[in-house]
Amino acid sequence: MSYRVVLSIGVVIILACSGSVAADDYHFPIDTINHVLNYIDIDTGDIAFRTDYVDRDSFRLKIIDDLTLHPLQIPDYLKKRGDFLKDTTISVFEKYDTLEQTLGRQHRLSLLGNWQLPPEQIYPDARQAGGVIGEFADRLLKTYAGMRFVTNIPLTEGLSGAESAFVADSFLTFLREEEKDVDRPLDEMDSLQKLGDSLAIRFKTVGPKINIANIIDASRQFVSDYQQLADWLAQNRKALQQIPDSLLRKYFPSFKTECGPIVVGGKGNDRYEGDYAIIIDFGGDDEYVMSHVSGHRFQIIIDMDGDDHYRAQTDHYLGAGYFGCGILDDWGGDDTYMAKNYSLGCGIFGTGILVDRAGDDTYIGNIGCQAASSFGVGILLDYGGRDSYSAALYAQGFAFIMGSSALVDYSGNDRYAVGWKYGDVLRYEDHYVSLSQGFGYGLRPYFSGGVGLLIDGEGNDVYQSDIFGQGASYWWSLGGLIDYSGNDQYISYQYAQGNGTHLSLGALIDISGDDLYSSKGVSQGCGHDLAFGLLLDCAGNDQYNAFDLSQAAGSANGVGMLIDLKGDDAYMARVKGNTHGYGNPRREYGSVGLLLDLGGQDFYRGYGADDSYWVTQSKWGIGADLNSVKPDTTKAKPSGK
């Protein structure tokens, strides 16, 4: 064996190993956490919550229960999920599949092969023409046949007519806000509250009858069909784009079907207006002016190139599924997406997927958009470019009841902003609710929430929210934000940046970069009311700014942790008494706060100090800045209950 062979084998082994070893700075120092907690007579086995503090509703996700019992598994869970979702070699369908599995419902398909050819003769001339034109026509026929099939799956099976109408009319009131709420008189707000309660109580009876398996089956089948079509188009992109527009018009005229029109557009600048079942556009700077037509529940738009402008004139459009599934896949160009409510990767009783594969893009929506879901899956995948995301509420990786959502932006310097429209009538006269940016939300006290994720790969990003956001959650749900690299800015006001509120789980993980975190309170590793909040920053010189009840604060029997592994950091807290490893009492016992800094020369304004431990005068909190000092191996107490 020559040295070259040996060298080659060595290189292969090294490459293989490098592929399996974590290529980033992520680490969750569970042993050190245990070590430090031991000093206040707590161990990692104590960091657990019960799953039965309140009556279990029908929609509690198994993963929420599992992580409620073991909240210290959240970082690894999120990291694994993030690694998978931001892997560009993994298909959209596989990503959908993993998010769907979060819902914990067994899909019963394969339905493939069960569908029948539609009665309409779709593009017969094209199919007879053979070659890429014929194959393309066959693909469209197959996709349409699949669409007809899933359209006929009874998504409201199990509900009476009245119950179906109730769900259709009432469910979205749980996800609706009005700007005029801030001006309503007290009795009117009280009446609205009572109305909301009565709707929730009725939904407790009606909701469990919804055939979620059918909803999932339909989405799954449709996403699978889309994936096959998209894969074929990608393989034949060059050949397809060489077809002259005149031939396209001849072979693929607009075709009306019972699911909506099927349209094929050429490389020119096209304008689409109305409602469509399938649009395949080969290029050009196109304009889409879309309006949802009742009864059309499934849709695929694939645009191969150009700086496109998408505008939805109604809710539930542009990569949105409402009792159905909508997929929008744009392959290139600097695009603009302007939508209303429940859009841009929103699945409610269904699935919504928006994929943008290149370009500097702008996403604008209102409520329930940019990866949002309930009783379904919401996905927004942006593969690159300098992007801007803005919305008003419930957006950017938001999951409500039985929802699983992920906004994944692979690279580019991005800006995420949510809020500044709907006033926070409960807390402040001059702040606005956001509930976004990796946010899980349940309807207290009736229904558990879902799993909402915001994952950003590379780039120097800015995240802006106001009240509730940035790896946060409310009521039996999980919200996670993972940013892999870049010098990022996280700006919010309250309930943010690794916060769980009221029996829920929230985490913000930033893996590298020199980052800035700024929030007023109940933030930066804060769990409030039997909830868990974690802010984990793995590397970089970071600055943390807060006013109170933040930076490792446990409140009302919650657990809050702020863990920074490397870098020269600054921790600035205005109120020393409830930050930097703090717990307060409720229900006759305390909460847990842990601040841990494991490297660098750090600056503290507040309780902490570089190169030291500190036990705060609270129930119960501790901090440790261990720098280069290795934790000793004290066996302070046995773990486990």
Partner: protein
Amino acid sequence: MVSKIIIMVLAMTSLAFADTKSEVERLFQTASSGEIRYVKLVQPAKDSLAVMKDSAAKYLVSKLSTTDAREAQTLTEIYRGIGKAGTKYLIAALNTDDKYQLRVTSRCLAEVKDSTSVDALLKAATNSDYTVRAEALAAVGKSGGGAATAARLEPFFNDSIYSVRKSCVYGLGNLKSPASLDLLLRALGDPHFGVRLTAYDALVSFDSLAREKVAALLDTVRFAPVTGLAIRLAGQLRIHQVEPKLALYLADGNPLLRGWAVWSWGRLRGKDATAQLDELQKRESDLFVKSMLTDTRAYIDTLTSHE
């Protein structure tokens, strides 16, 4: 001044209403409003309901089954203001299977602090729902009754759910019956930190009554979590008789015990500990113990010469 005027206006408005029930409803709607716009009206509404005493108490019981957290909190605050005039209505409200009502009513009784409610609360504490048991037991502890109540509370420490044991321990801390000390010391080794640390607080509340038992514990037990807490209690309760034992822990191989021994040593010896702590600081290598030395020196520096 402004709030007094608002209370007067609300009270006068109340008089103008012939239907007390409607007035209670109206005031409760205001009192339980969570909106920032009405925040100035909330406390006066609660106060108005509190001064209505019996007439408010009897109507508000219909609200006790609420599932709304803010309404539940509002009720506890109002009944706190109403005081013992509300006890009979609250005790009657415990006669239900509705666990929301049982929980909220227990919470209200905990605020009223009337020992005549102990029997009814202890009955509620046998409920199959552990959250009801926990609330009821916490209320028992706050309702008083001394050693007799403590004796009836102790059996609940055998509950398998930590929050029930925690409420039991908390109650025993409130009731301060010396007979409960052995149980509280046992609770320092409970599997759940909430129980352990609540037991610690309960023992602190016993103050001098607990000194003998804690000292004995330090003499007989060498088990890290219990010993660690006992060392802390020695300083917290100023148990000077354990100083020789504590001095040994200043050189213990376990930094947790050594660190907390430093903490207690400073509290027991005050300024007299200064020289010894400074000496320890010179040779200590463990960061936790060093931090405790620094913290304790800072504490001693705050003491006046006679402390």
